[in-house]
């Protein structure tokens, strides 16, 4: 009964979405207030319907209803409750329902909090969101119904991939989807603006919080995925340039460019065409990722079960939304003329450079991801593009980006001179140089990590210099505290976000000097790595809720003093007939000690030992970046989507945001 209810409300949501799209577009076109006003309540109706459908699916998972095909394929009664719940979205069908639910949430938010938007703009945005939602609801109902029944019901489910039974992964997809779908809202704003043929500062003020929120959540989602790969896949890597990872990085890069160029629209009414393009691009990249992961056109460890039929439908949706958006762009964007003019050397100029570099990195990642597929298609050649390409191609682009990140926030709008900015950054540059030389001296002349440390210091100290400059910390230190409190949250957000990237770069540089070794140890034997002494005590059998395992006990000492005892597992899941390795990790602020248990042979256990300096900082930095986004989002002017600022013209004096 419950699954049928879920199926019904999904269909109801589709009908409501179509109605919402119709009243939104027609109402806005004919300027009929009553029609436009109907779009909001319809959006609320869609939200309730999709929420109910998602609840029904989750209920089927929690009670392990084996008459539902989706539950049978992806769950098992022996799974812990948390993973039964996360199983709801751990598969193709359920994740699509979650996707639509988040889209409905965004629609509800635009309807609920968008009262101060021009009503035609709001109606059109809601209509575009409803069209996107209707497309995906139709896709779910036609090709991926999560509520299909099986009869007779099997005794129990077929389990979930044990590798996916992990708290990190349970929350990785929802965060990613929040990010992807957030860009649907900026996309809807871009399409609405193209239909109206008008982009102004108010539009920029509305787009930026959505871009910021989507970008921050995507940052967290990507970091969580990377962290999961680090501790679960068991080979100590954190980023593999896997096509699926790239698919999440592309909207992140486009969104990062978008949230910076939206500032220029908001403050200076320039870069309008470009910002609209980026808004279309960010969502286009999100959809491209969805297509690549779910159609099976690429080969990846992460890909969902592939299905060309499904791929054709997603491609059709992609053609409609992205093709439609770009066609509208080609047709209408020419009418949008920039009003603000600026010199190349200015805050705007720095933001343009940031945009160009971010987009170039995105282009490199896109080409590297798609090239093997197209080479296979057109030239029938099997090639794989791996980390060496991505590292060598993105680093030369990332270096000037990082260089400009500290300078840009110090430049004034319109027209700037480089010298005063450099004057305020000399101690930052000195610090970066010192870090470079120190690392060269300590790590034995390895340029890569040394450059990384220098970049990290440059970014973190640069953010500090930005705040010091705004609060006049050095020139008038007494009043600095008061000025710091008065600084807009957005300024703090920018500094914190930039410093967060610095922290991540610090972690990456640390991983550049990581060491590891393979050791075959019998119980009682020891080996040494990076100044630590690893002793294997014993290997024994243990039993978990739905697995059995071999568990090693490894004592780690430094200079004779016990540091920690690690217990890595090699787990066997009888239901899925799979084996996974559970790495054991000891984290201190400065490094990770990471032990993986391999096979056992002749009474000896194969252990892989890693010493990863600064590894946790990679993900801490991402969290700090997201925190910066959140700070910026909590700015008074953003929180209310700036109704006051719309009345009072945004003066140059308080334009202290970056």
């Amino acid at each position: 009964m419950i699954p049928e209810l879920g199926h019904f409300v999904l269909a109801l949501a589709l009908a409501l979405s179509l109605a919402q799209a119709a009243v939104g577009f027609i109402g806005a076109q004919r300027a009929e207030a009553r029609l436009m006003a109907a779009a909001g309540p319809l959006a609320a109706g869609v939200l309730v319907a999709v929420g109910l459908a998602f609840g029904c699916l989750m209920w089927s998972y929690v009670v392990n209803d084996t008459t539902v095909a989706n539950v049978v394929q992806n769950s098992h009664s022996a799974k812990p409750l948390l993973y039964k719940i996360s199983g709801t979205w751990g598969n193709h069908e359920g994740s699509m329902v979650l996707w639509v639910l988040i889209l409905a949430l965004c629609g509800g938010a635009v309807a609920g909090f968008g009262g101060n938007l021009p009503s035609a703009l709001q109606a059109r945005v809601l209509a575009v969101l409803a069209l996107v939602g209707a497309g995906f609801l139709g896709f779910i109902l036609a090709t991926s119904n999560p509520f299909d029944r099986v009869w007779p019901p099997p005794v129990d489910g077929q389990g979930l991939n044990p590798i996916l039974q992990d708290p990190g992964l349970a929350f990785h997809p929802p965060l990613l989807y929040l990010g992807y779908v957030g860009f649907a809202v900026t996309y809807a704003f871009a399409v609405a603006a193209l239909i109206e043929g008008r982009v102004d500062a108010a539009w920029g003020r509305w787009v930026r919080p959505w871009a910021l929120a989507a970008w921050s959540l995507l940052t967290l989602g990507i970091a969580l995925g990377s962290w999961w790969a680090y501790y679960e896949l068991g080979w100590g890597g954190y980023w593999f340039w896997d096509p699926v990872e790239n698919a999440s990085l592309l909207p992140w890069l486009a969104g990062c460019a978008l949230l910076h160029s939206a500032i220029v629209v908001e403050k200076r009414e320039a870069l309008k065409t470009w910002t609209v393009f980026l808004a279309l691009l960010a969502f286009g990249m999100s959809l491209l990722g969805t297509f690549l992961v779910r159609s099976g056109v690429l080969n990846s460890v992460h890909a969902f079960a592939n299905d060309p039929e499904r791929g054709v439908v997603i491609l059709a949706l992609l053609a409609a939304f992205i093709g439609g958006g770009f066609a509208l762009f080609a047709w209408r964007a020419a009418s949008m003329t920039p009003t603000g003019i600026f010199a190349p050397l200015s805050r705007e100029g720095a933001l343009v450079m940031n945009n160009l570099l971010l987009c170039s990195i995105a282009a490199v990642v896109l080409v590297g991801t798609l090239y093997p597929m197209f080479a296979d298609l057109l030239l029938s050649e099997k090639i794989s593009v791996g980390p060496p390409f991505f590292n060598t191609a993105t680093l030369p682009l990332a270096a000037p980006l990082i260089g400009a990140m500290a300078v840009g926030p110090l430049l004034p709008w319109k027209r700037a001179r480089l010298f005063p900015a450099i004057q305020r950054l000399w101690w930052v540059a000195l610090g970066a140089l010192a870090a470079f030389l120190l690392c060269l001296a300590l790590s034995g002349a390895r340029i890569g990590p040394a450059l990384g440390f220098a970049a990290a210091v440059w970014l973190i100290a640069g953010a500090a210099a930005d705040i010091a400059d705004r609060t006049a910390l050095f020139s008038r230190p007494r009043a600095a505290w008061g000025r710091a409190k008065g600084l807009p949250r957005a300024a703090w957000g920018a500094a914190v976000g930039h410093a967060g990237l610095g922290v991540t770069v610090l972690g990456l540089a640390g991983m550049g000097i990581a060491t590891d070794m393979l050791a075959a140890l019998k119980p009682g034997e020891t080996t040494r790595l990076a100044g630590y002494e690893f002793r294997l005590d014993a290997v024994r059998d243990v039993t978990g809720p739905n697995w059995t395992a071999r568990r090693a006990t490894v004592e780690i000492r430094r200079d004779g003093a016990l540091v920690t005892v690690l217990e890595p597992d090699r787990r066997t899941f009888p239901v899925g007939r799979m084996t996974t390795t559970e790495a054991a990790i000891h984290t201190t602020v400065l490094s990770d000690l990471y032990v993986v248990l391999g096979e056992e042979r002749d009474g000896a256990a194969i252990l892989r030992l890693h010493h990863n300096p600064l590894a946790p900082w990679i993900w801490t930095g991402a969290a700090i970046m997201a925190l910066g986004g959140g700070l910026s989002l909590s700015d008074r002017r953003m929180r209310v989507a700036a109704p006051a600022a719309k009345l009072a013209a945004p003066g140059m004096g308080k334009a202290a945001q970056a």
């Binding site: 160029s261 320039a270 870069l271 065409t273 470009w274 393009f277 279309l280 691009l281 286009g284 297509f291 159609s295 099976g296 056109v297 690429l298 080969n299 079960a305 592939n306 060309p308 791929g311 054709v312 491609l315 992609l318 053609a319 992205i322 093709g323 770009f326 066609a327 762009f329 080609a330 964007a333 020419a334 920039p338 190349p344 343009v352 945009n355 160009l356 987009c359 170039s360 995105a362 282009a363 896109l366 798609l370 597929m373 197209f374 296979d376 298609l377 057109l378 099997k382 007939r577 799979m578 084996t579 391999g598 096979e599 042979r601």
Partner: protein
Amino acid sequence: MSATGQAPIAAPRNPWRRRLLLLAPLGVAAGAGVGFLAMLRGMGTGSYNPRGVPSALIGKAPPDFALPPLEGADRPALSAADLRGAARPVLVNFFASWCMPCVIEHPQLMQLSRAGVPVFGIAYKDKPDDSQNFLRRHGNPYARLGVDQPGRVAIDWGLYGVPETYLIDKEGIIRWRWAGPLTEDTLRAELQPLLRRYA
């Protein structure tokens, strides 16, 4: 993307150039879309397969070889002659005791062997004692077993890595190659239809 990237710096004075520039994203997206559609079509017909690693040996007879048997395994040795003129299609599976995915695919090989499919094994770069232990612990699905300790035969076959499995039809022609572990899905979606086709 880099072409449109210049738009914000200097808007071209020529309106036609600006129009073309604004059309560029649509053009790129359309081109990619056509490519994706061709890939999806190709996946249906088999001309595009993102997972398969092609083998130069498909449609040819396997290279000539004769391998010694695994001491104490109680199975006959394997040579190229054994692959010609069998009563039904046979599988040749390269494995090693040191290879983790081989453990993952082992239950599937056992299942195939129980179902009566002749599975021939080649122990690749493995100490005979280790291979023995491996088979004692996980079961022995192989009807014939050859030992390729130096890995010479593997080079002739163009081995990509272990595990790797080849399907050879009744005429002794290689019809299929799978690099990586055989999973339940591979069995169901790839191997079973092929076994029926060449039976």
